[in-house]
Symmetry: C2
Subunit: 348 residues, 2 copies
């Protein structure tokens, strides 16, 4: 740390992403898809003229916004596109929560707390109730942000309940992070056409197998989108790589592949949950591309370390409330079979 | 603008990038290179396995940092990589200038003022002296940032003078934005090995013909780099697109192409300056890939609009101090010949 860093940042605790290891491992720790993105991207890359890289990308990204808006059946001016949904979330914290009150679950995506500190939000972490979000606990001042399904628990909330929350709190901004929604949770995107206090954040990193592309987006009414565009044009107008545009478009147009791969992940997840239930594990009813599990026999850190020794990475959180749980990404069926075999061998 | 946007952002004036027009124009308004990036990138794209897009990019970017550090003959831990140099600059303002004093020229890259407002810096715009930066005017409290060569004037400062400034101000952070340095300005990168109060910011957008890639970087001592990494890990750890990594590496390894294309741009610039001098233009001694010119016959806005009618875009700044000047990007020789012909025709 240099002597020039502004004071409050000196003590800021940054986000710790899941390990990225170079050697060959079974990687079930960062919720990437086991499937590659649409194979039609091979042609997109083949047809990409490298010479266009000399030009700045469109700062307004109309073409991509159009494709995304058609996919979700919302207006074109209701889409904001960011360099990964992390950037979208960072801009939301900057635009709305900076020096303001915001509420989020105490067990949730770890980055919310980091952003809250980065933007000096007056935040409050609301304890989960039996690993579930209870909206009664949010009857207090403060905007609200949470993922649906929540991470790392995987527990999801119905569209109807969320609509109640939005309706009952017209003066609070409600941000729903749908990073993991495509794996069988009801989306609330359609509600953005109806409510002016809702932002839905989405990503291509999980269900579209495009974590390497860095492309996330927000859907909300145009007034909110204009705020986010204002922040973007005050930060970096050209935030999206030229290549990411046609690749994302190809992904959205290949609807069959998207349905097929997300369905397969849901299938593997449900099978894997049954397998864990046959063994001595407690688990939430995850609707995400991961499960959140606790062994009745071995503690989570032990399992994490033993699996790591065997070249299998899962996510362990060194956090009091959940340090008995592991978050395990749904990989390919064969990866999950190898994992089960190893869990049996280590006596988990 | 929504009712939720935090107050001070409501009045923030965002950056206005040069127009991006879809129809076929001669585009001399955003300082892109007239040359495509290294043609070796064709193979890089051919060899890129689209399946790896399912994985997050490395958050630490070691491989790319190594190539860049070798190129500049500095240590590997002295490189920070961002999503365009705009992101690097935004993080520098967040890390060091937030609520602190910072000085920059009144005529310079327009984004500094936007960042200063975004991060509530206590900034002061120091008037240029005859379109040149005079370090005597910076003998006052405040960190210092400026581009070398300056934009949009193109005027550059010697390494020796900048070293004096750094030496004489050990308690100020000095940020030198070398976006346009590769066109015949002395770099101060080597000084980062010697001084702990210097950050040099660079980009692949101009001299490497990779504006569409969004890749910028900072070079500084490791303590400063660690600050920027801390901000990045509090904002978005995976800030670089998977494809941008091998493409940038290819660009850095193709040293001949880089030298050849930057030399050509310098050659065209010097020829174009002579042509303008033959006519009724005043111009600075630009060392960038653009010129900064004033016609003795027509006012700048008229020229800008007349050229636009003729499908030639140049940059006009609606700012009191420089609204008699145009910034014209150095395009291909034939583009510049067409421009000269049109300037003659409109009587500029």
């Amino acid at each position: 740390m240099s002597r020039f860093l502004v004071d409050y940042l000196k003590s800021l605790e940054e986000y710790v992403p899941g390990e990225q290891i170079n050697k060959k491992v079974i990687k079930l720790n960062t919720n990437e898809s086991p499937f590659p993105p649409s194979p039609k991207i091979i042609d997109t890359l083949k047809n990409f003229n490298y010479q266009t890289l000399r030009l700045y990308p469109s700062p307004t990204l109309e073409e991509l916004k159009k494709v995304i808006s058609i996919n979700y059946n919302v207006n074109e001016n209701m889409i904001y596109i960011g360099n990964g949904s992390d950037e979208v979330l960072a801009f939301i914290f900057m635009a709305y929560f900076q020096n303001h009150k915001v509420l989020f679950p105490n067990i949730t995506y770890g980055f919310y707390k980091v952003y809250a500190n980065l933007y000096k939000a007056n935040y409050k972490e609301i304890p989960l109730n039996n690993l579930e979000i209870n909206f009664n606990d949010y009857n207090q001042e403060g905007h609200i942000i949470f993922p649906n399904p929540n991470a790392p628990t995987g527990v999801s909330i119905s569209k109807k309940s969320i609509e109640e929350l939005i309706k009952n709190n017209p003066n609070k901004l409600i941000v729903i992070d749908e990073a993991y929604q495509d794996f069988d949770t009801e989306s609330v995107v359609a509600l953005t056409m109806k409510y002016s206090n809702l932002i839905v954040v989405k990503t291509t990193s999980k269900s579209r197998g495009l974590a390497g592309l860095r492309l996330g987006y927000a859907i909300a009414n145009n007034e909110l989108i204009k705020d986010l565009e204002k922040v973007k044009f005050s930060f970096h107008p050209y935030n999206i790589n030229q290549l990411a545009i046609p690749i994302t478009i190809t992904s959205f147009l290949d609807k069959d592949y998207f349905k097929d791969t997300t369905n397969k992940i849901v299938e593997i997840r449900e099978w894997f949950k049954k397998e864990l239930n046959k063994r001595d594990f407690e688990l939430t009813d995850s609707k995400a591309n991961f499960v959140f599990v606790k062994s009745k026999k071995l503690n989570a850190e032990d399992i994490y370390l033993k699996l790591k020794d065997r070249n299998i990475l899962v996510r362990y959180f060194n956090k009091k409330e959940i340090n008995n749980y592991l978050r395990i990404t749904i990989g390919s069926k064969s990866d999950m079979e190898i994992l089960l075999k190893n869990l049996d061998e280590i006596g988990a």
